[in-house]
């Protein structure tokens, strides 16, 4: 039990910090409630999916610098295909862009395996490629997301005293992440992803196919990326070909969330909590009408200092 605690200590600390921040928010702005929670969650959606995608790849021992560009590809594709689409077609589009995400991710992974170049090089080059693809699909913001599908992530889950506190977007996020993550975490594939990130030689000796697992990890990340791109299009209602600021934010949240660059360690909860922490910090600074430039400094400091602390703890741990 004690060991379990220490294993999840970092995540528990983050959850504590999140609760603290929520309390602080309530103190700064007594009217903060359901609608505030909703706007935080909706803002968090694309970051959360981008972060989840990055987490999967990093756990597998890689890194994907093309996450934001792939989100743009998915976003414009969905917006173009959904324009004026009926119910069936809309669902088909959703399936299609999820498949598109998986395919893009798989291509990234396959190139990493085939070229034997470092992940960071391949995915950096591919980020230019995916940006270009997005611009070929839509030169300027355009297309339209199916309105009723947008409703799915808008507003409280249902009218009523208690449930009205829970935003639909939070439910959507939780359900989708769990749909991908829980089965994965329990499956042999999920274990293999951790295994190749932790110790590729030992994984190979345990019967894991390293190349296939790497491709699969990138493909799963691609599916999550597709959810992220879709969530951007659903929240703005249109498709934007220029990648949003999700890449570095996702890497930061992943590291803050306790996933070790290099692989094998960490989960999804920590990074997602880190996403919410970063969103709420921004909200609080806006509520306090802090100079927007100071907000950038605060975000950078949180990243550097928290990770430096983590680094010092890790060095200590290695010595012990």
């Amino acid at each position: 039990m004690m060991r379990g605690l220490s294993r999840n200590g970092w995540v528990l600390g983050l959850v504590g910090l999140l609760i603290l921040l929520l309390i602080v928010t309530k103190l700064i702005q007594p009217s903060f409630g359901a609608s505030g929670l909703e706007s935080v969650t909706r803002a968090a959606l694309p970051f959360a999916f981008a972060t989840a995608a990055t987490a999967v790849v990093v756990i597998a021992g890689g890194i994907d610098l093309s996450v934001a560009a792939m989100m743009a590809v998915v976003g414009v594709t969905a917006a173009v295909l959904m324009e004026g689409a009926g119910v069936t077609q809309t669902w088909l589009v959703v399936l299609a862009v999820l498949a598109l995400g998986a395919a893009m991710g798989a291509l990234n992974g396959a190139l990493v395996v085939a070229t034997r170049l470092p992940d960071i090089v391949v995915t950096l080059a591919m980020s230019f490629v995916w940006e270009g693809v997005a611009l070929l699909i839509l030169k300027a913001p355009g297309g339209a997301a199916t309105p009723w599908l947008r409703e799915v992530i808008l507003g409280p889950i249902a009218p009523g005293p208690v449930v009205s506190l829970i935003p639909k977007s939070l439910v959507v996020l939780a359900v989708l992440l769990m749909l991908v993550w829980l089965p994965l975490r329990r499956s042999r594939l999920g274990l293999s992803i951790y295994a190749i990130g932790s110790d590729a030689t030992a994984a190979f000796r345990s019967g894991v196919s390293i190349g296939a697992t790497r491709v699969a990890a990138y493909a799963i990340a691609g599916v999550l990326v597709a959810m992220g791109g879709l969530s951007v299009t659903l929240s703005t209602g249109i498709g934007e070909p220029i990648p949003g600021p999700y890449l570095l934010a996702a890497v930061a949240a992943v590291v803050l969330g306790g996933v070790v660059l290099g692989g094998g360690r960490g989960g999804l909860l920590g990074p997602i909590v880190a996403v919410f922490i970063l969103r709420i910090v921004r909200l609080d600074l806006t509520l306090l009408s802090v100079d927007p430039n100071v907000t950038t400094i605060v975000e950078g400091t949180i990243m550097a200092v928290v990770v430096m602390l983590g680094g010092i703890l890790a060095v200590r741990g290695r010595r012990a």
């Binding site: 060991r3 274990l191 951790y194 110790d199 000796r205 345990s206 019967g207 094998g264």
Partner: protein, 510 residues
């Protein structure tokens, strides 16, 4: 709960039991310039426990990896149950009935035990049965593997292997890191496996285990099978001879003057009650100016910790280190180097900048301190490096990157580094591991030469013949303590071997 496979297997016919279940012939394997296996052959019948013997670097682990699909062989044949077979991966080997416990722990460090079992598809019931049998009744299931002690990891690896009911179990130095009580249990379980008609390939440096457990021994030397003998009383001597080969008979080796250095006065290095980690308990000795002091120990007796502590790589848990009478405390290898203690580690991969040139490798200690960060006196460095290369006769035709050098030449580079700047006290950890006989000779000569010029050398070796070839005196370490100190002239191999196994030494001392 006990499984019943024993009674079913025992009914096998004698004829079937006689046909080899595994038959490897002429296996070869090279890693770049290093020839790990030249001509290795191994044959195992049903119900048989075969010892695979050989000095460090003889190629035992490489052979195990090739048999189980972890490495691809360059040449040779492998027949399983009479049919030609090659396994593409350890997973495939397991499905084919060959299950290894590798020399290095093979559980995933960041997964917990439960997850590791699921990953490997290990059946639970048998696993838990074997863990209990092996004396770890209650392994922590939800703790990352990297938190567990090495001994536990070895047992878990074994239990995992046993649970998949292998036809051939391959154990690579399974017992090296285990305390005595666990060793006993392992031996018992392995014996039961054999009695149940399963086959075992058993690698260990401990003769006591071999004679207690094994039916036969196959001996590897320098990557080739050089003998195959039944285990019977007195076979140890024959195995030792085969393992070491004729190349270094004591008579040949003692080519040097027997004039030892003065062992009086303030020693260059004085070690008292040194303890470190869990293995190094209490070691004391003196190393004098101009002396080569041998260190002999079986695998895992604390010698790694001793050298690491002396080189500033790890902080001792107790005891003192004095140099020329001055007490020392090292926080970083740089401190030890400043005090004149320089380490050549056993694993040359640890010491080499493999993607850099010979010259840069040799000159790196010189630029270590910030006041030498400026322009390098290239001429002087060139001369210095050339002199060191000359002295060690390093073959530098493949100058560009040291990883393209042969293993022996790589090893020489790790030593040359310290010769270039003038050496005071050299800590050599098994410097001749995996290198050819001629190079070995050169290294002995060099060591003697350095000593003659006033340097001191602490010389750990896993090849006992080297003690007489290179050393003045020898300390034998067992269980983290010095159990014997001998003059090198008196320390022939059988004597050292027995001392290292903790046999005669104790009698002698008692």
């Amino acid at each position: 709960m006990t499984t019943e496979e024993g009674s079913t297997s025992i009914s096998m016919t004698d004829a079937a039991a006689d046909a080899p279940i595994l038959d490897a012939q002429g296996v070869s394997k090279r890693f770049g310039a290093v020839v790990a296996l030249r001509d290795a052959s191994l044959r195992v019948r049903r119900g048989e426990v075969v010892a695979l013997m050989g000095a460090n670097g003889a190629g035992k682990s490489t052979l195990v990896k090739i048999l189980t699909g972890a490495l691809r062989r360059d040449g040779g044949t492998l027949r399983i149950r009479g049919r030609d077979q090659s396994f593409g991966s350890p997973g495939a080997a397991r499905r084919g009935g060959l299950v290894p416990v590798y020399q290095e722990p093979s559980l995933i460090p960041d997964l917990d035990l439960d997850e590791n079992l699921r990953l490997g598809g290990t059946p639970r019931e048998p696993f838990h049965h074997w863990v209990r049998e092996l004396g770890i009744p209650d392994p922590p299931m939800d703790d990352p593997i990297r938190h567990l002690p090495l001994a536990t990891l070895r047992i878990l690896d074994l239990a995992r292997a046993l649970a998949s009911e292998p036809d051939v179990l391959l154990l690579d130095e399974m017992t090296a890191a285990l305390p005595t009580d666990l060793v006993e249990r392992v031996l018992k379980v392995v014996r039961e496996q054999a009695d149940a008609g399963r086959s075992v390939i058993y690698i260990s440096h401990r003769f006591a285990e071999i004679s207690q457990l094994c039916d036969r021994a196959t001996v590897l030397r320098d990557g080739a099978t050089v003998g195959d003998l039944p285990i019977e009383p007195g076979v140890e001597e024959k195995i030792v001879t085969l393992m070491l080969g004729a190349a270094l008979s004591p008579a040949q080796a003692r080519a040097r003057e027997a004039t030892g250095p003065a062992t009086t006065g303030t020693p260059r290095l004085r070690v008292r009650g040194l303890a470190a980690g869990t293995k190094l308990a209490d070691v004391s000795f003196d190393l004098h100016k101009g002396e080569v002091l041998g260190v002999v120990a079986l695998e895992g007796q604390g010698q790694d910790e001793l050298f690491d502590a002396l080189a500033g790589f790890r902080r001792p848990g107790g005891g003192t280190i004095e140099i020329d009478g001055q007490p020392q405390s090292f926080r970083h290898p740089a401190d030890a180097i400043a005090a004149g203690l320089t380490l050549v580690p056993g694993d040359r991969a640890e010491a080499l900048l493999s993607s850099r040139s010979v010259r840069e490798n040799i000159a790196v200690p010189y630029v270590a301190r910030p006041r030498h960060w400026g322009p390098i006196a290239m001429r002087r460095e060139g001369a210095q490096v050339a002199q060191a290369i000359e002295r060690l006769q390093i073959d530098t035709r493949a100058q560009g990157e040291v990883r393209r050098l042969s293993g022996g030449n790589q090893q020489k580079v790790t030593i040359a580094r310290w010769i270039a700047g003038g050496v005071q006290t050299l800590l050599l950890f098994d410097p001749t591991r995996g290198i050819d006989v001629r190079t070995k000779r050169q290294i002995y000569a060099l060591v003697r030469d350095l000593a003659a010029q006033g340097a001191s050398v602490l010389f750990y070796t896993s090849e006992l013949g080297e003690i007489q070839a290179a050393c003045d005196r020898v300390v034998v370490i067992f269980n983290g303590r010095v159990v014997d100190v001998l003059d090198a002239q008196d320390a022939d191999e059988p004597m050292l071997m027995r001392a290292a196994y903790g046999l005669t030494a104790r009698e002698v001392r008692a």
